[in-house]
Symmetry: C2
Subunit: 565 residues, 2 copies
């Protein structure tokens, strides 16, 4: 993570490269009791834990699950991944057997501007340059499986189109793990009869693939294959769905994903075991690591810390209403990460003025944190607030946040894991243990399965975003009715909207109420098992900035990667 | 390899999966003296040998290099890869310290119809299903590096086009490791200003990427980065070249390829060490494994067997005139693989009549083998003919081939490694040892560096293909003159033409003479360091067949891959 707000004497990549790392085979044996032959090593510091071994854990008791989420993100940064890493290391500091589960970073943004996603400072998973580049190849496997299906769709049309695919209604795009705006909208199959039937098509970034979402929700290889078969790739002229199964593509797709499905084991800078596995988009998908990694971690450790994308209105809501709903997983505590800086931005302070104390703006911006606290409580879960410390934070500012949380009956602790590693987050760790051991968390899903799709969308909008209502254009309403009629009514909904506001306008900070959530488009993810409701602009293929990060990424003749951040 | 001509009680994949495999770390230590910490294991049976270790070998003496090539391929199959594997195992049988170097298979054809490329029967490198699927991720890394450069080209244009790229003259396409004809010709950047400037574009399969060719010719990481920088991606309106270096893309591309550049170590079914590394197309590129793998093998073993793509007119010619020219490598013997069946097809027999003895047709078809033998001799090298045995071969037929070879002063041996492993190829191994130890091989490159490009093409056509002459349209001649003027005149040429004939007409079997080689197009591969001359139709993006192999590929719930061949 680019910790642009911190001034460090050392870059993230230098900290990672200089860190003494334990051979992963030793670490797995000593800390998790995994024998060497249950691991598939990828180099010395990364390994996949075999699915056979995962299967043997089924009847073990499960540890406690801690979900790390955050306030609504701002350009000031929150530090959710560093908190996930630091908190887990801190749990080890206070004597707990802990591990963490993160998403795998996408390659594209590493060459764009977002940077990697392996934490930062002294709260990182390592080796960060491997994790941020190809890692164990999972995303490449997901891309290959996705694109095999795409090739088989056009190939079917080419060779006679026995299924009667309407080439105007092919919804299955292609993917590449690269930020490449030129591929967003293309016309393919040009150049004459030997190349097929020209049609409009396009590419998404690999993390936006439904295969990625399926991969992260699959319980095992057999479940993966079935879900892949359920993918709807196109319609006939009569609007009948064409599935991956109809093309006999899902077996080969599962074969391509077989190795990838085993969870990836790495370590934090402090030698705490970490699964980094799967990474679906948090807008059009559910935005958290694989079910297999989370379940396996819960069998191997007493405390498992995991992260959901974006703010709690999106990431936590989807974690709970999609991942937990489908799997029976249930967090024992939800950590809400906040920074004084970001809260001040929610209170109207401009980025250049963040260094000055401003208690009024902070009080104003606390509305955002309060809303997220209330939302977590609506789910029946106990929140803990972790204030990710920055050097400009004042004593009075921190006291104000603590008091505001205390008034809500919520513990708020200051964390400084970025500079100090796990030692910097022991207060948060203790608060998390108290919250989890209180036994007060009892997950209430926001809506029942049998609520109609349109009502589910309305419920999320009103309950979580505090919107007045939703608005649907006629074609969207018809499409939802069609999904309902086709038997998909019991699926949860996955709302894609800006992560920068509770509303659908990314400029509205704080805690807006009374807004209307306009649903522009709905899409069926029949394999993943949810209906996506797109509200506002959602980009499934990013572009590169004017000066891509790639320009500064390099490798020395002796093989040291530089410029990754 | 699909051994469609053989009837086996067991599929290739079943043989591979049932084979007792040695842990690669043990095998590397015992057979090659490589310590465990010089390896980056990828699972238990695959490992990359660290580039640091490779560097330490520099001053060791080199072993003998044996190049396996073949007659002109026919649908009857030759078995070049199985011969490479079987011969190496056979060298071990007769007491030699041997290893082999192969290309990595491309993922696309595994799902199409060609099948994998890890050998077949009892002459395979294993684990074949891993090698044929993602292996160690090298091709994915090459694809990512290629597509990063492509994204940076369009991104540069998008953000103001300071370099003045003429979007009509962008020659850098995109790649995907999939057979996908729909991507051959596209229009990209549609959808309005936010997606860039619409232009014609397209995809090749990853093995056709110049990055692949560069990867396979690079001496080390620094050389790789320089060559990547030399890639010409486009021209300005004044036809000035735009290079990857001008976009500052080559550092990040090299960073993406850093891990991949270390050679992949696996084993044969008999436990002989094998490098499987890199895999450029044999038409528009030079078609053999990486220089790093070949060099490293020569430092680790006394005998190294390697393979070049297609028949000797294409694969061996490029191996010698491109790879050997650039590196100083030089084979001690060239094995020409032939089958009675294929020779009979060269003599005019139809596929359905191959089971009957036909000495006249065989004699006729021997013209093809004779031409290849002569060509190998033109290079100053000693050929050995390996007759890959099939059950229908008769005693008289085999005698005819042996006699024909004897008349040329060449040893011909029957090999049955497909059924018997290394034990089936000891006669070939002994002949190879005799040929190599005779010391008679002295490589003569076909043309000097300073011969003009057009004369180089003519020389290959006349000397190797026995063409009467070449024909160039005016624009092609102009383009060659422009390359010459721009300082690329000293590069070798890489001729892309059908592999099924010495001529450019794939239907002309045997040993045609007096034909004209029509050069349709020339392309500069400035990073790889050769000029491609395209003669006839060359496909850089295959399509899937009516029933793709993918339809039968599957994985069982316990993770066993089936249907790969």
């Amino acid at each position: 993570m680019p910790a642009s707000q911190h001034v460090s004497p050392k870059s993230d990549i230098a900290i990672s490269q200089d860190a003494p790392k334990r051979p992963i085979v030793e670490l797995a044996r000593e800390k998790l009791g995994i024998a060497a032959d249950e691991l598939e090593p990828y180099g010395r510091y990364k390994a996949k834990v075999s699915l056979d071994f995962v299967e043997t854990l089924k009847d073990r008791p499960s540890g406690r699950l801690i979900l790390v989420s955050a306030i609504t993100p701002t350009p000031a940064g929150e530090g959710k991944t560093t908190t996930t890493v630091g908190l887990t290391d801190a749990l080890v500091h206070i004597g707990k057997k802990a591990m963490l589960c993160l998403r795998e970073p996408s390659l594209g943004p590493s060459f764009g501007q977002k940077g990697g996603a392996a934490g930062g400072g002294y709260a990182q998973v390592v080796p960060m340059e491997d994790i941020n580049l190809h890692f164990t190849g999972d995303f490449h496997a997901i891309g290959a499986a996705h694109n095999l299906l795409a090739a088989m769709v056009d190939n079917h049309v080419y060779w006679g189109n026995a299924l009667g695919i309407d080439t105007r209604r092919v919804t299955w795009r292609r993917v590449v793990d690269m930020n490449d705006r030129a591929l967003r909208e293309i016309v393919c199959s040009l150049g004459g009869a030997v190349n097929g039937f020209p049609r409009e098509a396009g590419f998404d970034i690999t993390v936006a693939s439904e295969v990625m979402a399926i991969f992260c929700l699959a319980e095992n290889l057999a479940d993966l294959k079935e879900r892949l078969g359920d993918i709807v790739v196109a319609q006939t002229r009569d609007k009948a769905p064409i599935r991956a199964r109809d093309l006999a593509a899902n077996g080969a797709m599962a074969a391509l994903l077989k190795e990838a499905l085993a969870p990836n084991l790495v370590q934090t800078l402090e030698g705490t075991p970490a699964f980094v596995h799967g990474g679906p988009f948090a807008n059009i998908a559910h935005g958290c690591n694989s079910v297999i990694a989370t379940r396996t971690a819960l069998k191997l450790a007493d405390w498992v810390v995991t992260e959901a994308g974006f703010g709690a209105d999106l990431g936590a809501e989807k974690f709970l209403d999609i991942k937990c709903r489908k799997t029976g997983l249930s967090p024992d505590c939800v950590v809400l990460v906040a920074t004084i800086r970001a809260l001040k931005m929610h209170g109207g302070v401009r980025k250049e003025d963040l260094f000055a104390e401003n208690l009024e703006a902070l009080e104003e911006g606390l509305s955002n944190l309060r809303r997220h606290v209330e939302n977590v409580k609506k789910f029946g879960l106990v929140p803990v607030v972790s204030i990710n410390r920055f050097s400009a934070d004042t004593v009075a500012e921190i006291a104000l946040v603590r008091d505001a949380c205390a008034a809500l009956g919520v513990e708020a602790c200051v964390a400084d894991h970025w500079a100090e590693g796990g030692a910097g987050a022991v207060d948060v760790a203790r608060a998390v243990v108290r919250a989890a051991e209180s036994g007060k968390s009892r997950l209430n899903l926001l809506y029942p399965d049998d609520m109609p799709l349109v009502e589910k969308i309305r419920t999320v909008a009103q309950q979580i975003y505090q919107a007045k209502d939703i608005a649907l254009d006629a074609p969207v309403a018809e499409q939802l009715a069609a999904f309902q009629a086709a038997g998909y009514g019991s699926l949860p909904v996955c709302i894609a909207k800006t992560q920068y506001s509770f509303s659908t306008n990314h400029e509205i900070k704080g805690a807006p109420t009374g807004h209307i959530v306009h649903v522009r488009e709905v899409r069926l993810a029949a394999g993943a098992g949810f209906v996506v409701a797109i509200c506002g602009d959602v980009m499934t293929m990013p572009g590169l900035p004017r000066i891509p990060a790639a320009v500064n990424i390099d490798v020395t003749p002796d093989g040291r990667i530089i410029g990754l951040f």
